[in-house]
Each structure stands twice: as structure tokens, then as C-alpha cells.
Symmetry: C2
Subunit: 393 residues, 2 copies
Amino acid sequence: MSIKYAERMDNLKASEIREILKLTERPEVISFAGGLPAPELFPIEEMKVVSRKVLEEMGQAALQYSATEGYPPLRKAITERMKVFGIESDPDEILITSGSQQGLDFCAKIFIDPGDVVVVESPSYLGAINAFKAYQCNFVEVPTDQDGMLMEDLENVLKNTPNVKYIYVIPDFQNPTGKTWSVERRKAFMALANQYDVPVVEDNPYGELRFEGEIPPSLKSMDPENRVIFLGTFSKTFTPGLRMGWVLAEKSILEKFILVKQGADLQTNSMTQRELAMFLEMYDLDAHIEKIKNVYRKRRDIMLKTMEETFPEGVTWTYPNGGLFTWVEFPEHINTRDLMVEAIKKNVACVPGGSFYPNGGRENAIRVNYSNMPEDRIVEGIKRLAEVIREAL
Amino acid sequence: MSIKYAERMDNLKASEIREILKLTERPEVISFAGGLPAPELFPIEEMKVVSRKVLEEMGQAALQYSATEGYPPLRKAITERMKVFGIESDPDEILITSGSQQGLDFCAKIFIDPGDVVVVESPSYLGAINAFKAYQCNFVEVPTDQDGMLMEDLENVLKNTPNVKYIYVIPDFQNPTGKTWSVERRKAFMALANQYDVPVVEDNPYGELRFEGEIPPSLKSMDPENRVIFLGTFSKTFTPGLRMGWVLAEKSILEKFILVKQGADLQTNSMTQRELAMFLEMYDLDAHIEKIKNVYRKRRDIMLKTMEETFPEGVTWTYPNGGLFTWVEFPEHINTRDLMVEAIKKNVACVPGGSFYPNGGRENAIRVNYSNMPEDRIVEGIKRLAEVIREAL
């Protein structure tokens, strides 16, 4: 059969992370590649209780079709949780999605005509880049420093670029860099977004996993003009396999997301939504998050300490105050795709940084995850990585 | 904020069914509007067993990220079940989706550039029409008789229409008409699809719910050229709330679906996939389907009998040998959108047929569901509907 796909398919190729993750399925590989939570912390016993209780108390409804918007008690519970980011919201402003990845796909579907522009941090989250690409957008990358996007560069872009449909940012423990925006930078950013009248997509999967300091106010909490679309998820604070995320947006914007959700998959899993709502009612998710933070903090500490002890001069890395990743940068002549080929030979894996730049051209960094491996394997893996780096330099 | 959405959003409006379903949430309404399975038949006790067992035996994996393609034992189990449709397949040809609605969305995403054509039965499934519309396709409708699409009309369309990207059909107990294609028509259809070298999307959510006669061979079973993309679901044979569907396609085509799945939501719920696989291993889904069929057969019988007794001359309906719907047609001067306004006043609801014609222009039919209401309410509801019809004629 001769077959002609849509033009958008020319833009899509398998995620490099996905290919690397396949290699890392071998148990002997020490993987810092994925963004996987520590599975030993999953609340399995609690899930047993809530799944039984949901089936006993509302089995028929849990297995039947339900509203596209999501299960009302879960939407309500999420508005409560949003307060930690300084956000006062209404259940009518929440749509339950199949992970926040679905929220990313919907943003592009709702806003992007071919050739439209999405402004992103440079580098930015690979999964978002791939989701947006499927709608044939162009990307403009704005450089960042340790306080967030550079405002002068952003203003320059907004002033001179036609058809900017939204700015996509991850202000808390960014994927891939682990950086967090300062409060001042957030304010300046919102002032520019208002001035140039651009929608903002704020992706915040990691914000609650803060190891030290206070959670800063989200962009959404500084948004009287209702231009921020906030994407949230339980993947990092609860479990990722259940695919529970949400979109929070002003009602007329959310109505577009609901329309798109209906065509995309009708609704998110009825039973899982009820299990999660029951979990939030019966147990203390904040206490569970404390447990996760304590483990990840130690893993970050031991990883950064081992880097300090073993990585050669000329290599730098970020100090994340939370989240899952650090970002390691090398001298410009180092191509980390080659470096990772060597690393895999020593049974250690990270993600080469190139894929996080939508317009390409920068290959001298890697994203390193510290949440998924136990401490002894972190030490061993970083030592192996140091050897590979020393050989390459 | 001034906001400019993508052009595709101009095509999308809330599904009429969804609006009607909201009205039917009032318990006094007898609803034949949805396509809802009978919830009293859901295997709740079995779900309790499998959810506990999955959490006990593989809790960490069930709550962790997993492969985009789906859980291997579930993909394998689906290949076994495909044999009922005469299909020999390989697990590598199966992608697990969030219901078959997601498969519909992906078909359009993979094939449709704005202005491309999708050929459909006239009428066709509203949810598919809406999913495809979001990708700015045009529709060409092909009339049907009681044996399926009319081949002369189809050939005429294929001969004279540029940019036909695929033909979308529901050959078994079609939504909305309840009609099933004859074997001869299937063969003729595949011959034309081969001759004109067009991909085919075969949507088969109801085929296993056959009350009498043998399950006919699917289009996919007559497809040596691998042009058929088969969409399946457990929504009607197991439960819809768990959102478990699949795409079966030749590997190079499936690879495109996997790419799109990755951007859309990474993967389908890890835990639910394992629960379903465990259910299929521990219990007899075919025996469960027998139970469902016995109940639906009786409901169909009592509905059609009551129609026979109460509907006035000039009204006709289909006799479905399975599935969930019958299709009632009225003289051309009757507009069923108006009819349904009157019906709702009498607390009975169906879906006006107009929305099932993507190009509009026909308003004299309704889709009537018989799976969801108990027998006494079916009798009462059809009697009320008869009164409304008599007043309108």
C-alpha cells in the first residue's frame, strides 16, 4: 500500500529518552536517564485500601462513563492543593487529564496553527517540545540564568516575533536544568506577558518537591488577567502510572480544553479518579510528600557530593533545591551524544542535552536524574560517569 | 486578554449528546440517549480481586511509568481475543489506548492535513466525526442499505475525490443505525479499497455483542495488503470507565500511532492495564459477555415490541442483531431536534439523528439506546415517546 501521512508526521521521531530508557531496562545499568520517581515509596498499601473502598462504595459509577471534566470531588480536592502555590481556584476551572503530558498536547491543539510560534526556555522539557511539534509550530528559545528567563531577551522576542501563541515555562525545578525562577523574575515575566498580551503555559510537576526554602508564588497566583494556564500532575507526588494530571485555567479557556478532551479520549479513567480522591480524603498526601522529599534530598546530596569529588575541572552542574534533575555542562567541544555511547558501555546512562533545545545546536550538557536510584548506585554511577568524562576531556 | 485560538477550534462545539446527557442525569428521566452499558452487570467483585492481586504481586510496576505501547501480557491477550473476528495478529501490532476514542483521534492526527477527505457511512458515529473535525478534514458521506455501504456510490467517490486519506466504517452493529454489513459487501468493499489504494479505519466496539447468528469476518481479516487499521475496546464488553481500548495495525503504521501516543499522554494507565490483563487471565470474559448479551437481547426485544405496539404508521426502525442501538426514522417533515424538546418535557430522551450526518441536512431520525435501562422503564419510555411522536405527526 502507498500511504500518505499528514505533514505533521514529518516532524515526529521517537524520543531519544525513550530509546535510551529501553537500553536502561537491563538491570546492570545504573540509570540517571529517566524522570522516574522512586517506586519503593509508592503508597501500595493505601492503594489497596482505596481501590477496595471505591469498588465497594461506588463500584458502578467507578466503572461507568463519567463527565469529561472529571470527578467533582477530585476537582474540588485539587483546588485545595493549589493553595500551596498561592492559587485560589474553583472546581469549574479544573479539567482532569491523563497526566500533564495530555495538558501539553491540548495546549498546542488549542492554540497552534502551522507556523505559529511557541516561546520556551532554552533548554526546555523534551516531552513538551515533542507534543507541540506535532502541531507544526516554530520555537523561539529564550536564554535563562539562575533566576529564570532573561527578561531583556524575552521582551526582544515578544516585540519582534509575529504569531507568538503562548510562552511555555517550568518555573520550579525546571526539566532539564533543575533551576527555579526568583520571585522578582516571576513578577517581571508576568508584567511582560501582560504588556504583550500573550497567554502563558505554566508547567509545574515538581514544585511541591522542594527540599529547602519556601515554595515561591506561582505565575498563576500573579495573574489577575487570567492569562496563565497551569498544568499540574500527581505523577511525582503520588504515582505516575495512574496518569492523573490537571489543567487549571479561566473558565472560557477551560471550555476549549474540555471540548478537546472530549474528542481526544472522552474522559480520564473513572475508577482511578475516584481512587485518588479517596486517597486524598483518607490519607495525608503532604506527609507522603515529606517522605519522598527526605529520600530525594539525600540522593541529591550524595550525587552532587560525588560529582564534586570525582568530576574533572571544566565540568559544572546546577544545585537544584528540589525536583528530580541536575544539569551538567561540559566545555563546548564535548558532544554528549558521543559521551553517552561510552557511558552506556560502562552501564551508566543519562540523557544527552541536545534534545532539550528545540532548534538544536547545543550538545555539551547532560540531564542527570537522582530520584530513581538508591544511594550506593548513585555513588557508583557517578564515579563511572566521571571516568567516561575524564577520558573524553 | 485578547486570545487567538487555532483555526481548528472554529470547527469544535460541545457534542449534542453531551448536552442531552446532562439533562438525563435527573433520575426521573428515562434515557435512551447515551451509549451506556448496563452498570448492574459490571464485574465489581472480580475487579476487587484483580486490583488487590495486581497491587500485591506487582504494585511498584503497576504504579510506575511503563512502555508507551502498553503492557505486554495485555497486548498478547488482545491478539487472542482478535481471533473471534478472524484476525491473526502479533502483540507488536497492538497499541493500548485510552478507549477507542483515542484511536479515532490518532487516526486523524496521523493522516489528516486541513482540507483532506475522510469517507464515512451516512450516518456515522458522532464521536468519530468530532474527533476527525478537530483536524480540519472534509467529509464525504456514502449512503448505506441494510447490507452496508453502497459500493457504486463508494466507487464513485473514490474515483472522483482527491485527497481521500481514509475510509472510516463501523461494519458491526453500527453507531447510530445498529446495522451490520453482509460478508459479500465486506469483500466488495475491500476490493475497492485495494483498487483505489486507500487506508481503512474499521471501528468495532460492538461486534462481540451479537445476540443471534455468527460473528462475520472483520474487514481486517480480509486484508492481505495491511491497509486496515482496526480499533477495539473493552468499553462495551467489560467496562467503559476504565478507558481500555486498542489499535491494531501493521507495524510500520502502528509505529506512527506509538509516536503520537507518546506526545499525547505518554502511555495508558499502568495499573488498569495490569488489572485488565489479570482479569482476562483469571476469569472468563466470554462467559461475562454471554451474560451481557442475554440482558441486552431481552431489552432489545421488549423495546422493539413496544415500538411495534405503540409507534404510529410512517415510523420505521432497524432490527439490530446486537450492539446497543436502534435507529428510528420519521417522515421527512419531522425535525427530531424539536421532537426531542417535547420528549424531554415528558422525561424521556434520545439523540436527534442530525448530528450523525457530518455535512448535515437530515433531521428526521433518532438514535435509541436499549442497553442502559431496565425493561419496565424501556416499556414506559417507549410509550411516552410514542405519544410525543403521535402529537408531532
